[in-house]
């Protein structure tokens, strides 16, 4: 859909499916990242949740983008557990509330929805930039999308910049000392490892861009 100016319901479903496939492909990698500084379950839990999500997607009644995102959020809250369940659940619930009743969305809608989704995660997780969490990928991505939307670049270019910012944010978590989540218990020992939550957040945004416009950026989540 190169050159497209809007994202359809089918594009959204394709994004969710692509994220589920990406999580499954990177399940062991995400779990390995979590073994180093957490409790070795991030890939396993996200995969369980996303498999439940895609099982429910075809049964949704109307072609309502907001309702689809809300279903994704509710399913993740009910199936993932840990901090990832409520955090990713909130991301999709907020994204859904910002797009309710719509069968297609443009760059301004996506920008607004991503704002709401990231704000929801900030409220729930009470984390800040540099705490070595998923926000370290999401905050720069949100800012990059804002800047791109304001400068009027095409959707494809805007997403390429968003994913690039997420990737840089993800890679930049490696030297950080964690201040939130289980990695914080390690203190200084948490430095030197890439954050698993920032990595799955990068995969989420990359799945959108790859699905809609073809593969972008550096590719591998290891950065």
């Amino acid at each position: 859909m190169s050159g497209a100016t809007s994202i359809s319901y089918d594009d959204v479903v394709a994004w969710i499916n692509a994220f589920a496939a990406s999580v499954r492909a990177q399940k062991d990698y995400l779990t390995a990242l979590d073994s180093a500084i957490g409790d070795a379950d991030h890939g396993i839990n996200m995969d369980r949740g996303m498999q439940a999500v895609i099982a429910r997607l075809p049964g949704l009644p109307a072609r309502d983008i907001g309702a689809a995102f809300k279903s994704v959020g509710m399913t993740l809250v009910s199936t993932v557990g840990g901090a990832s369940g409520p955090l990713y659940g909130t991301f999709f619930l907020q994204f859904g509330m910002a797009t309710v009743g719509r069968d297609s969305i443009g760059i301004d809608d996506v920008t607004e929805a991503l704002d709401a989704a990231v704000a929801g995660i900030q409220r729930l997780g009470k984390a800040a930039a540099g705490d070595k969490t998923m926000l370290d990928a999401l905050l720069p991505a949100r800012d990059a999308l804002h800047a791109a939307a304001q400068s009027g670049v095409p959707l494809e270019e805007a997403f390429a910049r968003t994913v690039e910012a997420a990737e840089q944010g993800m890679v930049a978590t490696t030297p950080l000392v964690a201040r939130k989540g289980r990695a914080s218990y390690l203190g200084e020992r948490s430095a030197g490892h890439q954050d698993p939550g920032a990595t799955s957040s990068y995969l989420l945004l990359k799945a959108a861009a790859d699905t809609w416009f073809g593969p972008v950026g550096g590719g591998e989540p290891a950065g």
Binding site: T31, S35, A36, I37, G38, D39, A40, D41, I44, N45, R48, V77, S78, T79, V80, G81, G82, A83, S84, G85, P86, L87, L124, G125, R179, K180, G181, R182, S184, Y185, L186, G187, R189
Partner: protein, 332 residues
């Protein structure tokens, strides 16, 4: 991976089915995976529930029964349960007097319990919660996730459960749980890692001559890795930070709890207890009650934790009160 399982995906479900098969006189399991006291709800009694990842057995499911928990919510291995479970548990044990949620301080547990509490309140059930955060290995700070909830949780569940059984109201039971939290401190260490069934390999590698000090209960690495020391030296490394943190003072009476992480024989736990008793004597701290065994574990991890709870007459009486659960039973 060498485990006595059929498949990682079915391990928790089959464990729960086995618990019901063994202890059907005390517990039942309701959807979505909640262990409930067989006679719940009891009218007029405050319900006490807890929950957390699986892999810490006998906590929490083994502590459901008379005089302790009314329900427990087991998540996937080392993963906090989902709000649907705590909501179902809260509804199942609500006898009209409200429900206390005992939560171990982990980011995920807090979020999922908070969501469940909001949903339960929306259904008209009075819910209060207390967060257990007793691990002195973790520095407490406004800017971090704070201390982990570890061994103190078991003591809180026993003491609070006894008060609820005796008819205390929700405010009293909640204040009592906070009192336990305010007077309990713990620290743990690991001789080996452990293997999450779905991950298939140990969470970390530890050399034959190495140990991790300051671990939690999720197979995660600790605060520092050190050369292996003697049981006496290790006991000092754990006991002294605990004693200095509260601090426990001359003349205090404590419940001394030496806990195995799942893969350490009782023989070694008593060797640790022996040294702990000497340390406490040296500080003129009296052992009012003792508790030794594998009570809050980290799968097959070898290692131990020490928990000290400062006792008074009320806490001692409630600790001694009758309890009848799959894992703990006395006074009946």
């Amino acid at each position: 991976m060498k485990k006595l399982i059929n498949a990682p995906e079915t391990a928790v479900d089959e464990e729960l089915a086995g618990m019901v098969a063994a202890h059907g006189d005390l517990i039942r399991v309701i959807e979505p995976n909640v262990v409930v006291r067989v006679d719940a709800p009891r009218q007029g009694k405050v319900g006490v529930i807890s929950g957390g990842g699986s892999g810490h057995e006998p906590m929490h499911g083994g502590y459901v029964g008379m005089g302790m928990l009314d329900a427990a919510c087991p998540g996937a291995v080392f993963t906090s349960p989902v709000p649907d479970q705590m909501l179902a548990a809260t509804a199942a044990v609500n006898g009209g007097a409200g429900v206390l949620h005992i939560i171990k301080n982990y980011t995920g547990d807090i979020m999922n319990f908070e969501l469940a509490a909001e949903m339960a309140r929306a259904e008209g059930i009075e819910v209060s919660s207390v967060v257990i955060a007793d691990d002195v290995a973790v520095k407490d700070s406004l800017y971090t996730a704070g201390r982990r909830g570890v061994g103190g949780t078991v003591l809180a569940e026993k003491i609070v459960g006894a008060a609820a059984e005796a008819g205390a109201d929700l405010a009293t039971v909640t204040a009592l749980c906070q009192k336990v939290q305010d007077n309990v401190r713990s620290m743990g260490m690991a001789l080996t890692s452990c293997t999450v069934p779905a991950a298939g390999k140990p969470t970390f590698e530890l050399g034959e001559d190495e140990m991790e000090i300051g671990i939690g209960i999720h197979g995660e690495p600790g605060r520092t890795r050190m050369k292996l020391a003697t049981a006496d030296e290790i006991t000092e490394m754990l006991a002294l930070p605990i004693l200095d943190d509260l601090p426990f003072k001359r003349g205090d009476s404590v419940l001394a709890f030496v806990n195995g992480m799942g893969g350490t024989p009782l023989m070694e736990l008593y060797i640790v207890f022996n040294k702990l008793a000497q340390i406490l004597k040296g500080r003129s701290v009296t052992i009012g009650r003792s508790f030794v065994g594998n009570w809050i574990t980290s799968l097959e991890m070898a290692g131990c934790s020490i928990t000290l709870l400062r006792l008074d007459d009320e806490l001692t009486r409630l600790w001694d009160a009758p309890v009848k659960t799959p894992a703990l039973r006395w006074g009946i």
